[in-house]
Symmetry: C2
Subunit: 356 residues, 2 copies
DNA sequence: CGGTGGGATTGGAACGTTCCAAGTTTGGTG
DNA sequence: CACCAAACTTGGAACGTTCCAATCCCACCG
């Protein structure tokens, strides 16, 4: 066993003696390159490269009193939604750019409490937290504020209107995009199927609804509107009711991809060919949309991830918080459900569009 | 600012002096309770509790040369599948029981390479890795073996038949469960819609297919079989072809929930009421199944997570690897698609079953 | 040619934990 | 009552890094 030589990973001292400088100089090369003369710097960097040296996370964390990690709560609503995996994927992909790593935690079966937050904080496992699905009476923001622990929320903190450490998608803009696209494609009237305002998150529901109202009214294409909760069965019934008030050549903009799927089903039920007879636009850019050939408003997941990570980073660095919550612009991904040449029905879905 | 008092988290020395013992005794209380007299132990534990002390992850990791973390690769196939979120949720929920935390990594857009593995290892950020979606020519197992880094795979390592550090669901047993359930519910003939054997993972496809063959033949209910890839459009066509050879009162067992959804669509296309006229069973226990009222074979996600985490834990502890890969038993979750009283069609889905 | 200033580099100390070897107490025995 | 072993407890050292203060070196100026 060559444990002593090959097995042990190189430390800063190994690099230092290989380059003929001291510990501290190597540290400076990596953390404050300006402090080191170019000649020395290059020599050190060459050895860093040759030995494959990387600073130990544990030693760094101990010395700096900072874990370089962000806790991410994965609870039931987050895991079981269509966008959960997309948010997680984006945060994971963007974390390295912010010099942090993620630590997911939470029991997918139990409703969130602060216990896990307290435990992870005490163990110095993370410096800050990111979470989603805030609700009224949510204990988490209060607890984190009280303990002065940085955090950022995906979605408005409507239980704490004064807080600005959140990012969300601009649903108003998203529905504008949807309506503009539908008009562009030549659909005559644009209806809307969204969420009731008394539902869990009235701001999001209101936001998307107003987007449709403003755009459709502005363009003179406003049709009927309906509401439903985020469940397939009831949504199909609501979609069915809405379609009673729409005719061939009309369209429906939806508050989510799941609702859009329900519209596909309601259309199929009455023999409407989606695309040709009826335009449908969803919201989320989820797997459901890709599978079913739904045109959808794609949330800017990477931008959201960047904003959330930057927000906690700034709080850690100097305690600054954003001047306001961030509403980020979504984009529209056209597919068959708004293609007039297409005859999409729920039971003859098209394959997913080829990836760019 | 009361930084100096309230802000600083308690350390082992604080606990020690509060309890009137030394550092080491506190450490022993937490790590080797037997070494400490009960009287002392209780006194120390009381102070631990009072001060809310938890050992610093960084200090522990530095001293023990162990991060207490497991890297989890989230790549495109993992994130974009129906089971990805379920596997992740289970691993997250079970990690604390194994005294580790997870560190997800990976770029959802790029195909996996060993670069990220090397980087995380060098930084001592993780001790081991868990990943899924192995494929032939996968560089990861070879690289990890070469560097003697523990790992465990979700899914068979069919590119390395000699390796045993994997866990997978017993698809054979799953399709037995499905067929038995369908016979139990009084369906006459049971067909099968699965994956072609030349697809990415022939072992899984073969496994599930044989389960159907054995059970259906054994019970004398074997019907026609078809194959399709894991895409909704082609799957609906394949399901349609299969239904040509089945009549009312028959059933289809499927290799995945997505394929089962395709069967729902094909049934709707020809006016068959799923449940009453046609039994359908999916595989995965995914969100898709819950939404669409599909009876499904649920993968034992928590057991899988436990096995994977235990496997890497054992490798870390004393280098032992399992004597064989683990095939874990799934369970069956009945829903409307095998309820003879129900008239489920793809466009009139039932609400998700109430959670237990 | 000595002094000065400033940038580059250095060694000591500390972050919080656990291992190790040595120390102290406890309880039992001759 | 003295002694011994076992049980329990203790302080020093080390894990790898970065902060801090001190030192070194060099060019430039008077």
């Amino acid at each position: 066993m060559r444990s002593s030589t090959a097995r042990r990973r190189a430390t800063i001292v190994d690099v230092a003696s290989a380059a003929g400088v001291s510990r501290q100089t190597v540290s400076n090369v990596l953390n404050f390159p300006d402090r080191v003369r170019p000649r020395t710097r290059d020599r050190v960097l060459a050895e860093v490269d040759r030995l494959g040296y990387r600073p130990s996370t544990a030693a760094r964390g101990l010395r700096n009193q900072r874990a370089g990690a962000v806790g991410l709560e994965l609870n039931l609503p987050t895991c079981g939604s269509d966008i959960g995996p997309l948010v997680l994927g984006a945060l994971t992909a963007r974390a390295p750019a912010h010099d942090v790593h993620l630590v997911p935690f939470g029991d997918a079966h139990v409703f969130p409490t602060v216990a896990a937050y307290r435990d992870m904080t005490r163990r110095h496992l993370v410096d800050a937290f990111v979470f989603a699905d805030t609700h009224s009476g949510d204990p988490r923001p209060d607890w984190l504020l009280e303990h002065e622990i940085p955090f950022a929320a995906f979605g408005r903190l409507y239980s704490h209107p004064e807080l600005t450490c959140w990012a969300d998608v601009d649903g108003h803009r998203g529905l504008e995009l949807a309506v503009e696209h539908l008009v562009d494609r030549g659909y005559a009237t644009v209806g809307y199927l969204g969420w009731p305002l008394h539902l869990e998150d009235p701001a999001v529901a209101e936001d998307r609804h107003r987007g449709w109202v403003d755009a459709a009214t502005g363009l003179g294409v406003a049709g009927p509107a309906g509401v439903t909760d985020q469940q397939l069965g009831p949504a199909v019934e609501a979609a069915d009711a809405l379609l009673n008030e729409l005719g061939p050549g009309d369209a429906v903009a939806c508050a989510s991809d799941l609702i859009a799927l329900a519209v596909l089903y309601a259309a199929a039920r009455r023999g409407l060919a989606v695309g040709r007879d009826l335009g449908v636009v969803g919201f989320d850019g989820s797997l459901v949309a890709r599978r079913h050939g739904l045109t959808t408003v794609v949330q800017p997941y990477e931008d959201l991830a960047d904003h959330l990570l930057r927000t906690v980073h700034d709080q850690l660095l100097d305690g600054t918080v954003p001047v306001a919550g961030a509403l980020l612009d979504p984009t529209l991904a056209p597919s068959s459900s708004t293609d007039r040449e297409s005859e999409l029905t729920s039971y003859t879905p098209v394959p997913a569009p080829t990836r760019r």
